[in-house]
């Protein structure tokens, strides 16, 4: 989802007394009751047997998310720059790329890359004989590629707005001081653009997290795929899905907290 960056505000948790109003205490008690009921009455006997697999899946989800966000952001910077100030030769393809990525479902992109490239590569002997072939036979490089491209497409659009929103005077001042263009970009333009984009980037990272379970459809065993396997093996439906929901809620919470911490670290005095 694209949202205009909300005004940069330092997050201050409300005092505990204000949070714990009577109805909230009751609601928390009901929540505790539900959790206790779930823990006691639902079937959790499969948990120890699958715990190793689940931890591996969780780790795979997390590094897929982190790596694809990192690489995608690296791609998004030139994409945003090209759209914001680039010459037409660069701006038009960059805009077309962002439109196509944002206009088609991630699942379709994933399957195009996995099944399409996956069926194309073996036709060329030099690819099969290359050092990369053992990796290209696995599914995760395709998953990583698809997630990275998708993130780059969405973030290219965000960075376009961010680059444009840096006040012109800042750049002019830097130029007047005789800063070389690369230094200007590194010291003035990029940091301010990232600072403005940070609240949006946090939300986009949560959206990227919500895209990761799709990789299970191309045989990457992430945390979602593990619960699917539990369901197939044991015919237990609700318990793995409940646990999965809690896991995703926790990861999303951690992402939000991380970005709040990041935003809090940047000293800012926006007019």
């Amino acid at each position: 989802m694209m949202r205009a960056g909300r005004p940069a505000m330092r997050f201050r948790p409300p005092p505990l007394g204000e949070f714990l109003r009577p109805h909230r205490v009751v609601m928390l008690l009901i929540l505790l009751g539900i959790v206790a009921w779930c823990a006691l009455n639902l079937r959790w006997h499969w948990l120890p047997r699958y715990s190793d697999l689940a931890l591996q899946g969780l780790w795979r989800t997390i590094w897929l998310l982190a790596l694809s966000c990192f690489l995608g952001f690296l791609l998004a910077v030139p994409l945003g720059l090209a759209q914001a100030v680039g010459p037409r030769v660069l701006a038009v393809p960059a805009r077309a790329f962002c439109t196509v990525i944002r206009g088609t479902p991630l699942l379709l992109q994933l399957w195009l890359i996995y099944f399409g490239l996956g069926s194309l590569f073996p036709q060329y002997p030099w690819i099969r004989e290359s050092e990369l072939w053992p990796y290209l036979r696995e599914a995760w490089p395709y998953a990583l590629l698809a997630l990275t491209i998708s993130f780059a497409g969405y973030e290219g659009e965000v960075m376009r707005g961010a680059f444009k929103s840096v006040p012109r005077g800042q750049l002019e001042a830097a130029r007047a001081m005789g800063m070389p263009r690369l230094t200007l970009f590194r010291r003035v333009w990029l940091p301010q653009a990232v600072q403005r984009a940070l609240p949006t980037l946090g939300g986009e990272t949560v959206l990227q997290l919500k895209g990761t379970p799709l990789v299970a459809t191309i045989t990457v065993v992430d945390i979602y795929a593990v619960t699917a396997r539990v369901r197939q093996d044991t015919f237990i439906i609700y318990e793995p899905l409940l646990l999965l929901t809690v896991v995703y809620l926790m990861i999303a919470g951690l992402i939000v907290l991380f970005f709040r911490w990041l935003e809090g670290r940047i000293p800012q005095r926006l007019g």
Binding site: R3, T104, L108, Q109, L209, K210, Y224
Partner: protein, 250 residues
């Protein structure tokens, strides 16, 4: 002329594969597209209704309503749609069947369309709640107070003042939601519902022409996106009619 062009570009095989009649798979793709759009429309409409009530509850409801709605929007926006689809699909069918058994009817199988609309509608509802809440908040308080001062009942106030006044603020967000709805229908492919993405995969797997079909489906999705963007742009201009033109505003 066109035939010669197709031959020159070496697209003869592609045209054959995408032909509308049975040896080609174009008809299947279009049927999938229709199913996708049906579900997207249904889910979007359901999301709007949920969002309207949700926004109303978040703004004017009591503390319990507000907290419950906060839980709803937070959970739905943090948990992957795929997981929600599975939960709601299984739990929905299960609960419905238990209810039907209790009343004395037999089991039913939820049709893919109904289940898809229900699940995606609940997801859309959470996002729509936030979009509409922001839009309603952007309506100047004086306008609502003026309506109240004239003794308008709540429903008339909503119909005559709040809804038209918030529309310009809501439309960009709603346009985004509609695009998300069309793209989220692809997720139903994972639970085996024959919408565009699944039809495409089946066609691709049967003919082993993966690029042709996935690119064709991508073009279809993109067409829907671009046409909707145009329509929503027009809708926004209509909603903003009569607003003073602010020169230089972005």
């Amino acid at each position: 002329m066109i035939d010669a062009l197709i031959e020159a570009l070496g697209l003869g095989r592609t045209v054959e594969l995408l032909a509308l009649s049975p040896p080609g798979w174009g008809g299947n793709l279009l049927r999938g597209l229709v199913a996708s759009i049906q579900i997207a429309l249904g889910a979007f409409a359901m999301g709007l209704v949920i969002g309207l009530f949700g926004a109303w509850g978040k703004l004017y409801g009591g503390p319990v309503t507000r907290d419950l709605l906060a839980v709803y929007t937070t959970v739905v926006r943090a948990v992957p749609e795929l997981v929600l689809i599975l939960i709601l699909y299984y739990a929905g069918t299960d609960l419905l069947n238990r209810a039907l058994m209790a009343v004395g009817y037999g089991r039913v199988e939820l049709s893919g369309v109904v289940a898809g609309i229900g699940v995606l509608g609940i997801v859309q509802g959470a996002y729509a709640t936030e979009v509409l809440r922001g839009a309603i908040q952007a309506v100047p308080a004086g306008q609502v107070e003026a309506g109240r001062a004239f003794g308008m009942p709540a429903l008339m106030l909503m119909r005559r003042i709040v809804l038209p006044a918030m529309l310009p603020f809501a439309i960009p967000g709603l346009a985004n939601l509609w695009l998300i709805a069309t793209k989220d229908t692809a997720l139903l492919a994972v639970v085996g519902f024959a919408e565009l993405t699944l039809e495409t995969r089946q066609a691709a797997a049967a003919t082993r022409h993966y690029f042709t079909f996935f690119l064709a489906a991508g073009a279809l999705y993109l067409t829907v996106t671009l046409i909707s963007a145009r329509l929503f742009g027009r809708l926004e201009r209509w909603a903003r009619r009569g607003e003073p033109d602010v020169a230089g505003a972005r």
